[in-house]
Every structure is written in structure tokens, then in C-alpha cells.
């Protein structure tokens, strides 16, 4: 139960960072924190097994999720580098988001 709450808190914190931060690296850090929150919820919301163990299926899902999240983060950072090299900036600004 504790970890479900923690997962929800991390999800909210990560979402906040992903929207409120403008630096791309900070946005990606926040997205990773949100992912961790989701992973915690996915594993801890599944009912415990009769012998007190943890269901292996959500664990497998989370391991898959972790790998995907590394791949996406790595490509996002490569894009951030490209953004810096092309345009000399490291932020995604709000003005463009609305236009």
C-alpha cells in the first residue's frame, strides 16, 4: 500500500516536471521519474500471491518497460544534443507549443 502511494506521488511529480521544466534534459529526468512511479504502481497493485510472493507477470512487464524507457531516453538525449548543435538551445519553449 505504501508503495502504491509512492508510485502515485512519483507519477504526479514526474508529470509536473515533464510539463513545468523547459530544459529538455530536465524534462527527460522527470519523465523517467514518472515512469518509475508507473512501474511501482503496476507491480504493487497486483494482489500478492497466496504464499506471500510477488506475481512474476507485472515484474516481467516492468522489466520490459525499463528497457523501453532507456531506449527512449537515450534517443531523446541524442535529439537534445542535436537541438543544441543546430539551434544553440536546450529548451522547448511554451510559445512554440501553442503556435
Amino acid at each position: 500500500m505504501m508503495f502504491i502511494l509512492l508510485g502515485a506521488v512519483l507519477f504526479a511529480l514526474g508529470l509536473y516536471g515533464a510539463f513545468a521544466r523547459r530544459n529538455v534534459v530536465l524534462k527527460l529526468v522527470a519523465v523517467n521519474i514518472a515512469s518509475s512511479g508507473v512501474f511501482l504502481v503496476v507491480v504493487s497493485v497486483a494482489p500478492p500471491l497466496p504464499d506471500g510472493g510477488t506475481d512474476p507477470l507485472p515484474q516481467a512487464l516492468v522489466l520490459t518497460g525499463i528497457v523501453i524507457s532507456v531506449a527512449v531516453t537515450a534517443f531523446g538525449l541524442a535529439l537534445a544534443r542535436r537541438l543544441g548543435a543546430d539551434e544553440g538551445r536546450a529548451t522547448l519553449d511554451d510559445e512554440e507549443e501553442t503556435s
Binding site: L13, Y16, A60, V70, F75, R81, G84, A85
Partner: protein, 337 residues
């Protein structure tokens, strides 16, 4: 189950609850600090600490496989990726740009409020969830013998739900393909020339070099161990690859260029080897009159262990390529190598 997890399980209920509570508060606080930090370097450092603490939480949740992955990946590799990209950003780009008080207040409320509502709703739904139908853990136990591996998580990943894992291996390869696609191609390129500023290599630090040189073979050994043990205990190809890639990253940080040029064809062959082996094995089963990706009981263990071996090497190559980033564009003739 790992000995560490066993030892924590042996604590009294009150002590475990108190420990869990403290751990949760600490993790949330680190995340909060990381998300609100205006300095990118500080945020990244806090994120690494966050990952390590989270690995402890996974142990407490009885998920040692995830804990290993979190420590090797969340704290290790992702942190390294973030640090590596920081080196490429100019100094003034590593802090959040300043904004007026009104702007920041608006942002705090406009983003903060919906996010708090979303988190609250999620917690409410998750806490009030009533399981109607039990999951598949019982089925996993019943059929695990037919997979030849005794770690249930590995059985799910490499046999029962191997399609997911196949696609996940392709996702990692795809990240490399997409990253390499960012390099401008050929002399006829007209767009802005992307030449990442020569990474300011930290000066060689004798102590660090001495340390890393001795650590590298040891870590390689850990990688091999993690691959081998994955069938019966927490571990597996991905965790092994992450450890190897993290050592490579350390070598870079210590100023040693240990990598073969990532653009070289042998490296690319190694990178695609995992996906190709996985798909080919699936097709081979189809040709043998079975189902795509099937693992016949008699040979399942051998196939899983050997496939994991190829995957570990291939995934490590992909992760190393991702840490090193896109290859430099072809050099102009006037430049010295």
C-alpha cells in the same frame, strides 16, 4: 530469492513498516528535489540517488529482478546517459532559464493542480482496486518446468511472453538506428552541419584510471555471471548488458577511449545480432513444424541460455553505442584525424 531480500523479510512487521515508510519518504523527497532543481547537474545526481533508493524499494516489494535492473539501469546507465549529454551542452544551457515571478507562479498552479488531481485519482483507484480474477502466477508455476528455467520472471520474459521481449530488443536496436540517423550524411548535406563540439575530455586522473582498469575485468565477470545465473536467479541478458555498458561508460569518463568506432561494420553486426538471432530462432521453430517463437521442452533450457548469451553481447553493444552517441559526421579532407 536473493539473500538480501530474505534478510529484510525476516524483520519484525513494525520495523519493516517503519523502514518502508522512511524509504518511501526518502525516495519521494529525492524525486521532488530532482524535479524542482534548476541546475541540470544537480537534478541528474539526485536522479541517480533516486534510482539506487528505488532499487531498495524493489527488493522490499519482492522483485529482485527489477531491483537489479533498476540499479544497473535506472541508477547506472540512465545516469551515465544524462551525464554524457551534459558534457555536450554548453555551460549556460545546463540551468533552467530564469523566468518572472508571475510566470513561475502561473506555471506552478497551471501544471501543479491538474497533476495533483491526476496523482490523487490514481492513488484512489489503485488503493480501492478489488481483484476479481486472480492473475497467472499459478499457471506460471505449473508450466515453468516446460521452460527449463527456474526463475519465473525469466520464464515469462523468454518463453510465455517472448513476443514482448523480442519487440523490446528491437526497440533498443531501433534507438541506435534512430540516433545514427541524426548524423548528416555525405558531402551533399545542406542543412546545418551537426558537429558535436569535441567533448571536453576530463584530464586523465591516475587514481581513477587505476581503479577503472582493475574494475573493468571484474565488472565483465559480473556481466557474464548475471547472464548465466538469469535462468535460475535474478539476473539475465539485459542486466548483464547494462553492467558491461556501464563499465564502458566509466572508461570513457576516466579519459580512456576504449570503444571501437561505433560506426564500424563489426560493431553494427553485433548490434543487430540479438534481434536477428531472436527472430531467426522464431522462424526456425515455424520451419520445424511448430509455432513461431515456440521453445520445445527438451531444448528450451539450452535455447534460452544461448539466446540470452547472444542478447547480452548484442544489447551491450547497443547500449555502448547509445552512451557514445551518434558517430561524428565524415571528416572533411583538410582535417587531421
Amino acid at each position: 530469492m536473493s539473500t538480501l531480500a530474505m534478510s529484510t523479510l525476516a524483520m519484525s512487521p513494525l520495523a519493516t513498516t517503519a523502514f518502508d515508510g522512511m524509504l518511501a519518504v526518502l525516495i519521494a523527497w529525492t524525486a521532488w528535489q530532482s524535479v524542482t532543481s534548476r541546475e541540470v547537474f544537480r537534478a541528474v545526481m539526485l536522479f541517480v540517488v533516486f534510482g539506487l533508493l528505488l532499487a531498495l524499494a524493489w527488493l522490499r516489494l519482492g522483485a529482485p529482478d527489477v531491483a537489479l535492473a533498476e540499479a544497473a539501469v535506472g541508477a547506472g546507465l540512465t545516469g551515465v546517459l544524462f551525464l554524457e549529454s551534459l558534457g555536450h551542452l554548453r555551460r549556460n544551457k545546463t540551468v533552467e532559464p530564469p523566468e518572472t515571478v508571475a510566470q513561475s507562479r502561473l506555471r506552478r498552479w497551471a501544471v501543479g493542480l491538474p497533476v495533483v488531481v491526476a496523482g490523487g485519482l490514481l492513488a484512489m483507484v489503485a488503493l480501492r482496486l478489488e481483484p476479481r480474477v486472480p492473475g497467472i502466477a499459478g499457471l506460471v508455476v505449473r508450466h515453468q518446468g516446460e521452460t527449463g528455467v527456474s526463475n519465473p520472471v525469466t520464464a515469462v520474459l523468454l518463453d510465455f511472453r517472448s513476443t514482448d521481449t523480442l519487440l523490446e530488443v528491437v526497440v533498443l536496436l531501433l534507438a541506435v538506428i534512430a540516433t545514427y540517423g541524426l548524423v548528416p550524411h555525405g558531402p551533399a548535406h545542406h542543412g546545418p552541419r551537426v558537429r558535436p563540439p569535441a567533448t571536453p575530455r576530463p584530464p586523465r586522473q591516475p587514481v581513477l584510471v587505476w581503479f577503472v582498469r582493475r574494475l573493468a575485468p571484474l565488472a565483465l565477470l559480473v556481466g557474464v555471471y548475471l547472464w548465466w545465473v538469469g535462468s535460475s536467479a535474478p539476473g539475465g541478458a539485459f542486466q548483464a548488458a547494462a553492467v558491461v555498458a556501464a563499465v564502458f561508460a566509466l572508461l570513457r569518463v576516466s579519459g580512456m577511449e576504449a570503444a571501437p568506432p561505433p560506426n564500424a561494420r563489426p560493431m553494427r553486426l553485433l548490434m543487430v545480432a540479438g534481434s536477428v538471432a531472436f527472430v531467426s530462432q522464431g522462424l526456425a521453430m515455424l520451419a520445424a513444424g511448430r509455432v513461431f517463437l515456440d521453445l520445445p521442452e527438451t531444448v528450451a533450457y539450452g535455447l534460452i541460455v544461448s539466446l540470452e548469451g547472444v542478447l547480452a553481447a548484442s544489447l551491450a553493444a547497443c547500449l555502448i553505442a547509445l552512451v557514445a552517441g551518434a558517430p561524428r559526421p565524415p571528416r572533411q579532407s583538410g582535417e587531421r584525424p
